[in-house]
């Protein structure tokens, strides 16, 4: 079983500043982490490997320092890691990112399951997983909360939907995104940490991927960020007066008015 996990290095805090000129995050002085949702993707990949044997390859597109994130996932079970890094990849939106990742996965040739986190905590779009599947021309299942069985070129998974769960069977290869309910990611192991320290992480550039520079980075992006701003904090709080009973009654009235509850 060849498992590919796509992950992103993100700022480890929500208190970031936006560069007003470029509309991008100011990354200086901020500790980076592996996107938390991607740690579930990695853990699930490692568990599949432990259950069915195989290999877990972690891929990340990002600046050179994203190598740290890849070393970290080697310490928690990834067998190999590849960094996709090139100045041409800078400023990519989800479309250009997915294109770059898809090219890298094609270059790997052998893949059965591709796992992504449900979304990143910086971009928050949740688009890369489905776009990747589309570009690779393979099935996609979002919000997977359990991998029930993998057998004979098929995989049965449980996924979370608004009002419950769906069980889906899909042929392999396939792309899934996972939710945090799927597992508890392990901590690094001593052997993993030693391996991570000495691991050689290849860097694939635009040239190595053979990509058209108009399909990656800012020039390959279908969207442009016009402006980034912090929403204004508005306080709509209201303190109810009176005795307990009248407070409760007026609370119920207000909830009904707001259509949060119904009936009488």
């Amino acid at each position: 079983m060849n498992i590919v996990v796509c992950l992103k290095q993100v700022p480890g805090t929500t208190k970031v500043n936006i560069d007003p000129q470029t509309n991008t995050l100011v990354r200086q002085g901020i500790k980076n982490i592996v996107n938390p949702f991607d740690t579930y993707a990695l853990e699930e990949g490692v568990r599949i490997k432990e259950r069915y044997e195989g290999k877990v390859t972690a891929i990340s597109m990002g600046p050179p320092q994203a190598e740290e994130a890849l070393r970290e996932v080697i310490s928690t079970g990834a067998d190999e890691a590849i960094l996709l890094s090139d100045s041409a990849f800078a400023g990519a939106d989800t479309l250009a990112t997915s294109h770059t990742l898809a090219r890298a996965i094609n270059k790997l040739k052998q893949y059965d399951i591709i796992i992504c986190g449900r979304q990143t905590i910086d971009g928050d779009t949740g688009q890369v997983g489905p776009e990747l599947a589309e570009m690779l021309g393979i099935p996609f299942v979002a919000y997977v909360s359990k991998i029930e069985e993998i057998d004979n070129g098929y995989m049965r998974v449980k996924r979370m939907v608004e009002d419950g769960h769906e069980v889906i069977e899909t042929p392999l290869p396939t792309v899934i995104t996972v939710v945090k309910e799927i597992n508890v990611p392990r901590l690094p192991s001593l052997r993993g940490l030693a391996k991570a320290r000495s691991a050689v992480i290849p860097i694939w550039t635009a040239q190595e991927l053979g990509v058209d520079k108009n399909m990656v980075g800012l020039s390959g992006s279908a969207t442009r960020v016009i402006r980034v701003f912090f929403p204004q904090r508005v306080h709509h709080g209201e303190i109810l007066q009176g005795d307990l009973e009248s407070q409760a009654n007026s609370l119920i009235d207000k909830l009904r008015e707001a259509k949060i509850i119904s009936g009488s």
Binding site: R186, L187, L190, R191
Partner: protein
């Protein structure tokens, strides 16, 4: 303080701390309250390779020694010594095998202990044999193909949870202490069952249980060393493991000290944080000094052992005695600094005081170990060393 840890030791220390803070801290009060064996955490430690550190590389370990074990135990104990001792007891149970086991025995058992798949335990104490270990009554009678064990062991850490037990029993009653031998007994061996699970003052996450042997047949290849070597194995084992109890005590004391400093900075009385009171400062200064001294001694002894020293009985006893007395004093003073809330179960500090006490009692009570140290002093004087 600079203890000159190498890269691997630093990695081990920080990983053990991370496990303690991320996995043990959130559940320690509940484990204590419910007296529940920490299987989830044992699994975390196993996955993180922490059981591998005291096993040689040829048996799937990472080839560390006493010092590495101390680093891990100290970090775990800083958060919960009940969990730390459950981990450490597996090392205790496997040391006799490491030192005296045959190649076959090592190949058979050590890889599973290294991976954390199976826990080990060591069983010496009996209802009538505590400090006086030579009073044990459990027997191992030679029969065709093996030994039949009869008797009851008491207060065995990891009892019921471990799968591999090193058991000391008499193969020759007439010869007393020279007639004892060590055996490997696997859980689920017919005739081997578990008795009373103790309800304890502290280290309540750990399991302390009776082992009951009724005509329990173990194959002859399960003897560790030779017949009659039981007490040699035991004494060597305890010399080797006592710095581990020192580390357990140091970690606990460190945790209590940190909690006390934190609280003293925040608690306001008479308009100031209580840490500005000279009496509190004195107490904290003494606590910190003793913790550091205990750590330095424990590390030094562990490193002496790892350096291949032949004899280290008194040094090992010193580390255990000094660190455990320190832990008891520091934890008690920490409760004092917390005042009334320190006495309440809402804060972790009363648990630390309850947990500290055992370090003065097990693996040789401090009174017995002081006489051990004095005995070595006399011997040395007599030899004019």
């Amino acid at each position: 303080m600079e203890y000159f840890l190498n890269e691997q030791q630093k990695t081990l220390k920080s990983l053990a701390r991370r496990i303690a803070e991320e996995r043990i801290l959130p559940v320690r009060a509940e484990l204590d309250e419910r007296e529940e064996f920490p299987w989830g955490i044992m699994k975390d430690l196993a996955e993180a390779d922490i059981f591998r550190i005291f096993i040689p590389e040829e048996y799937e370990g990472l080839g560390g020694g006493c010092f590495e074990l101390c680093l891990a135990v100290e970090e775990l104990s800083r958060v919960c010594s009940g969990v730390a001792v459950s981990y450490a007891a597996s090392a205790l149970g496997s040391f006799p095998l490491l030192e005296y086991g045959t190649e076959e025995q090592k190949q058979k058992y050590l890889p599973d202990i290294a991976s954390g798949k199976r826990l080990a335990a060591f069983a010496l104490t009996e209802p009538t044999a505590g400090s006086d270990a030579s009073a044990i009554k459990t027997t191992a009678e030679r029969v065709k193909g093996g030994y039949v064990i009869n008797g009851t062991k008491q207060f065995i850490t990891n009892g019921g949870e471990a799968e591999i037990y090193t058991v000391i029993a008499l193969t020759d009653k007439a010869r007393g202490a020279r007639g004892a031998s060590a055996f490997l007994v696997e859980k689920d061996t017919p005739g081997f069952s578990f008795g009373k699970k103790e309800k304890k003052m502290g280290i309540r996450a750990s399991s302390t249980r009776e082992l009951v042997f009724r005509n329990c047949l173990v194959p002859e290849e399960n003897i560790i060393g030779k017949e009659g070597m039981g007490f040699i194995v035991t004494l060597r084992l305890l010399d080797r493991s006592r710095p581990g109890i020192g580390a357990q005590a140091v970690g606990l004391a460190q945790g209590a000290l940190e909690a006390a400093v934190d609280y003293a900075r925040k608690r306001i009385q008479f308009g100031h944080p209580i840490i500005s009171l000279p009496v509190v400062q004195n107490m904290l200064a003494d606590m910190a000094t003793n913790v550091e001294a205990a750590r330095a001694l424990t590390y030094a002894v562990a490193r002496t052992i790892d350096s291949g020293a032949k004899k280290f009985t008194e040094e090992a006893a010193m580390a255990k005695v000094f660190a455990s007395d320190t832990a008891m004093k520091v934890a008690t003073d920490a409760v004092q600094i917390f005042g009334g809330v320190g006495y309440m179960r809402d804060y972790p500090i009363e648990k630390m005081m309850r947990d500290a006490k055992i370090t003065q009692i097990y693996e040789g009570s401090n009174e017995v170990l002081r006489s051990t140290i004095a005995f070595e002093l006399r011997k040395r004087k007599a030899r004019r060393e």
